[in-house]
């Protein structure tokens, strides 16, 4: 079966390649390549240790995304709840091992690889809620059941992740879940109510829920210069890096902030500042533009789907990627507290690459479902 949109190119390019969403993939490849260049510079002008492994991880994660994209709809729906339970058990396992060894732990050592279950939970919670709302009778969307069960589904992993403690990932899970709930059509007043309640509870959470170093980071956001050598150091140095880059940047491999180690974590959380110092506003606009293209494509995939499960799934995946991007960029520009959230496709780090490529894979999967069955009826392997 083929689609009319690709008929013109069918004679030159093989159909399986031609039907891929190149409008998203090409900007993505460019972004990853750009990320590798920035990591090359962050390593002091060397492919090791960041750039090579970044590209390698992307290649592996791309393979995984392609595999996910090929999964059939029924299989995904069938596997959703078991996957949620497995990841939840892994989270409990991490917690238990941390308690046994004394001290917090975020990883499960599986022998052949190190797995961070809280990362997996970000896409899994989206699929789980999409499955829940897709299988719920449409008339029940305004009832308590529509909010209580998903609420528990979200709060269980969030509680476990908070115990690690990992505020950033907790917020990412809540955000992903909340967006799916919003898209599922829950009454808007509930969100407004929840928002008001959160605003009221925020001070309490701040004073009793956060550790002292986390409180300091939040306070620092409002006035980084007050403590320029302490908690505000990260934000101040990041702003210096971005601001000193100007419009065209200091040039490739010429960033003094990153090369002289003034910028903390120049290859992970603050990779955008590293980039902006050398490539300037032009580089920054390019990155923001690529992210816009990817997210716009993701949302269009979600909207194009006539299937409730698939559309909720795609919308939630977009939200998860968006959360990473927005929080990271706001953080490096001094508009959000320093939380350990890396920038998708650019930061050096396996877990974030894995999570974000799972999201991309899921979006490609829905895109494929859309192409195969625009009306959401017929299924094929």
């Amino acid at each position: 079966m083929s689609l009319s949109g690709t008929t013109a190119r069918r004679s030159v390019i093989p159909e399986p390649i031609a039907r891929q969403p190149w409008g998203m993939l090409i900007p993505l490849f460019l972004l990853v390549a750009f990320g590798a260049a920035v990591l090359y510079s962050a390593a002091g002008g060397s492919m090791q240790p960041f750039a090579t492994s970044h590209l390698l991880r992307f290649a592996i994660a791309l393979g995984l995304a392609a595999f996910i994209a090929s999964l059939p709809r029924e299989f995904v729906r069938f596997m959703t709840y078991p996957a949620y339970v497995i990841v939840l058990v892994m989270l409990i396992g991490v917690e238990a091992m941390g308690a046994l060894r004394g001290g917090s732990q975020r990883w499960l050592d599986l022998g052949f690889m190190v797995l961070q279950p809280s990362e997996l939970m970000k896409p899994v919670i989206v699929v789980t809620l999409a499955q829940f709302y897709a299988s719920m009778p449409v008339g029940m969307i305004g009832t308590a059941r529509a909010v209580v069960v998903p609420g528990v589904m979200i709060l269980l992993p969030v509680g476990l992740v908070l115990m690690q403690p990992d505020l950033g990932t907790s917020l990412a899970i809540i955000f992903g879940g909340a967006i799916v709930m919003l898209l599922a059509g829950l009454p808007l007043r509930w969100f407004i109510g929840a928002g008001l309640a959160a605003a009221a509870l925020a001070p309490l959470a701040f004073f009793f829920g956060l550790k002292e170093y986390q409180q300091r980071r939040v306070l620092t956001m409002f006035n980084p210069e007050a403590d320029a050598l302490g908690a505000g150091y990260h934000i101040t140095q990041s702003k210096i890096a971005i601001g000193s880059g100007g419009i065209f940047g200091k040039g490739f491999n010429n960033g003094s902030q990153s090369h002289l180690q003034y910028l903390p974590e120049p290859h992970t959380d603050f990779v955008f500042a590293t980039m902006a110092e050398e490539w300037g506003l032009i580089g920054g606009l390019f990155v923001i533009a690529v992210f816009s293209v990817i997210l716009r494509w993701g949302l269009s995939v979600a909207r194009a789907s006539q299937d409730r499960f698939a559309s909720l799934l795609a919308g939630g995946m977009c939200a998860t990627i968006f959360f990473y991007i927005a929080v990271n960029l706001m953080m490096v520009m001094g508009m959000a507290p320093v939380v350990g959230i890396p920038l998708p496709f650019m930061s050096h780090g396996g877990s974030s690459m894995l999570t974000n490529m799972i999201c991309i894979g899921a979006l490609m999967m829905v895109n494929r479902w859309n192409q195969r069955a625009p009306r959401g009826g017929i299924l094929s392997g």
Partner: protein, 698 residues
């Protein structure tokens, strides 16, 4: 806004009649809203970034540069202080040093312990550094050690990343080749105090390793010696590691200061004072050049420049010989008989003939009271009065011409005067006269005041420098003024209005003191064809009922004095030796003899000194070091730290010097029974021995 409205009503409608199609509608609207919000965030981020990169670009570019580039001053090499032949009295030595900047230390005690262990510093030194850090102003660097071995320096440097606020560097440190011999004269250098920085906000003053003059000539000539700092721009990492040099501007060394001091003579005289507490001044009779201003015992300016340690300070403070006092300028002593030749000049000016004689019968009746002489001299004319120091002669003629005239002569010969010298402080002393006594004590001048003053006792107070100037003026008949800085423009000083015959009589009397039938025959120079003329003096400090002046408690013993010039026939050098509590002039003139011997025949002089130093336990510098080691071993743990500011140390020393000068005032209220010129019992002053003695300390 419109969107929100629609969403709200849509949700409300969806409540009761939800179906697949309304949910799909809701999804579309809400996903559109999410898309819009995301787009808004993207625009916000782009705007924020534009603001940072364009509007605030200037600010952040500067901050990035100030991060990257570290401008450090290179302390200028200090100008040398040279003696009259160009040999350095103070020079610079390249060395490795370590400073700490208290503000930048995260855990001061731990870091200092760590450095202490690495450099194996003594526990007392570590304690000193800690207390210094505690009371420091924070930004000013504190020296931990200098003169390090390269290995120690390297061991410290590799650990730098874990030691914030520790600054090891290669630099120059001040070096005084002759150590304690020049301590009082040259002074020493040290890091600027907070007060000094407040006065002169030169960033150089808080540059690690930079030191300014703290005392003596080092302080006096600070601006000449300072030089111009160099600068070094380097690229540094966040942890302070230097990546590369960007630009270096070399420092310009400070100007040298060339003194009139004869370095070897200064060192010789200082060492020759030996175990005693005293001073030696030698001047050039042609120019007024000060060739030697030795004051001993002293401190080692090399060790003071590393900071004044508490043990060192306590040792110096407790020494009754006051090693911190510059006795040349701040020691005031009754001149005793040393002023007698000068008084004779006053008599001659007043019309007394050299042949006018009196009969000394162990004293003389002045008014209705008999005043004793130290001996019974029989018939005494002027020549014999000088040579044998007959007191009766001076009682009589001072009474005859009136002491006002004598005092006027004393003043014109430089007593009671300050000289234009680049020194921080010099004492005037006192030439007493009736007006002065009336003003000071509200009491009339009495006959015993004339009697006491006529033999250089009573209220009379002079400094060794003034005595040296006096003897130079006696030797030349010219108004010689002392000078300390060498320059070519020498003008012949104004001649006094003395007759040639008058000068000859006085000078011959002084020659007879040494080379004739006088009181200091043992001061004769062991050199053919060079004769030294002089005059002995023994200054009592307590009354006869307290001490016989030559034995017993050290601080009650008489001061020994000697003024001299040589060669007799064509005076070239003149000077004075004052030995505190030496027990009599016998402690002073042998030193003058040896110093003059050294002047004319250095080898002979040194031979004499070496024998003596063997019995004293080494040179002055060696004895100071041994004494310190013994003291530190005994008292190290229980010393009081020195005052925070070096200025306080020397203010205190000066105040005490003024107080000490008044010691002899007490016995001035009555006539003094003068004593035969004599030498002390032979026991060295307390504290002169290597181990600190326990008794007899104030």
């Amino acid at each position: 806004m419109k969107n929100w409205f629609k969403l709200g009503s849509g949700a409300r409608r969806a409540g009761p009649v939800a179906n697949a199609s309304t949910l799909k509608n809701t999804f579309d609207r809400r996903s559109m809203m999410i898309g819009t919000v995301q787009g808004g965030v993207a625009v916000l981020l782009a705007a924020r970034m534009g603001y940072l990169a364009i509007a605030e670009n200037e600010k952040y570019r500067l901050e990035s540069e100030s991060n990257r580039v570290n401008l450090s001053l290179i302390p200028p090499r200090r100008g040398w202080i040279l003696d009259r032949d160009g040999a350095p009295l103070a020079s610079n030595r390249a060395d490795f040093r370590v400073d700490i900047i208290p503000d930048r230390l995260s855990d001061a005690d731990r870091t200092i312990d760590q450095i202490g262990a690495l450099l194996s510093l003594e526990p007392t030194r570590i304690a000193d550094i800690k207390s210094e850090v505690e009371r420091s102003s924070g930004f000013a660097p504190i020296e931990v050690a200098s003169g390090l071995q390269y290995e120690e320096f390297a061991a410290l440097s590799v650990r730098l990343p874990d030691m914030q606020g520790v600054v090891p560097q290669r630099g120059f440190s001040r070096f005084y080749p002759t150590g304690s011999s020049v301590g009082h004269l040259i002074g020493y250098v040290g890091p600027a105090s907070a007060e000094e920085y407040a006065e002169d906000r030169n960033p150089l003053l808080i540059t690690p390793g930079y030191k300014i003059g703290k005392d003596g000539l080092e302080k006096q000539f600070e601006q000449n010696l300072r030089g111009t700092a160099g600068a070094r721009r380097v690229e540094v990492t966040a942890s302070g590691r230097i990546v590369r040099d960007l630009e270096t501007r070399d420092d310009i060394q400070g100007d040298p200061v060339k003194l009139t001091i004869d370095g070897p003579l200064q060192d010789y005289a200082a060492r020759r004072i030996g175990l005693e507490s005293g001073s030696v001044v030698v001047m050039d009779c042609d120019t007024g050049d000060l060739l030697c201003m030795a004051s001993m015992p002293s401190f080692d300016p090399n060790s003071f420049s590393d900071g004044i340690g508490s043990v060192e300070y306590a040792m110096l403070r407790e020494d009754v010989r006051v090693p911190l006092r510059n006795k040349v300028l701040q020691g005031l002593y009754p001149p005793g008989s040393t002023i007698k030749p000068m008084h004779c000049l006053a008599f001659l000016q007043a019309g007394i003939k050299p042949t006018d004689a009196i009969n000394c019968g162990g004293g003389r009746q002045i008014g209705n009271r008999f005043f004793r002489c130290h001996s019974s001299h029989g018939r005494v004319d002027m020549d014999k009065a000088i040579a044998q120091s007959c007191d009766s002669y001076f009682y009589h003629f001072a009474q005859v011409i009136g002491f006002d005239k004598v005092a006027a002569m004393a003043s014109s010969m430089g007593l009671g005067k300050q000289f234009e010298l680049p020194v921080l402080s010099q004492f005037y002393g006192t030439v007493p006269n009736p007006d002065w006594k009336e003003k000071k004590f509200g009491q009339p001048w009495r006959p015993h005041d004339t009697v006491n003053s006529s033999i250089g006792q009573g209220y009379y107070l002079t400094s060794p420098l003034q005595l040296a100037v006096m003897s130079a003026r006696l030797a030349t008949g010219r108004e010689i003024t002392p000078r300390l800085v060498l320059s070519d423009n020498v003008s012949t000083p104004k001649a006094y209005n003395f007759g040639a015959g008058e000068m000859a009589i006085v000078q011959q009397g002084m020659n007879n003191v040494v080379n004739g039938y006088g009181t200091a025959r043992r001061a004769r120079l062991p050199i053919n064809d060079v004769e030294m003329a002089g005059k002995t003096g023994t200054a009592q400090v307590v009354s006869l009922s307290v001490s016989d002046g030559r034995s017993g408690p050290w601080k009650y013993r008489d001061h020994g004095l000697f003024v001299f010039f040589a060669p007799f026939d064509k005076p070239k050098y003149a000077g004075a030796v004052v030995i505190e509590h030496g027990g009599g002039s016998g402690s002073a003139y042998p030193i003058a003899r040896d110093v003059m011997t050294f002047m004319f025949d250095p080898e002979k002089g040194l031979d004499a000194l070496k024998g003596m130093e063997k019995s004293w336990g080494g040179t002055a510098q060696q004895r100071l070091e041994k004494r310190y080691a013994a003291y530190a071993a005994e008292r190290g743990a229980s010393v009081t730290p020195p005052p925070r500011r070096d200025e306080d140390i020397f203010d205190k020393v000066e105040a005490e010097a003024r107080l000490a000068a008044r010691q002899s005032e007490k016995i001035a209220v009555d006539a003094i029974a003068p004593r035969q010129d004599q030498i002390a019992a032979g026991t060295p002053p307390p504290d002169a021995t290597l181990a600190p003695s326990q008794g007899n300390r104030e």
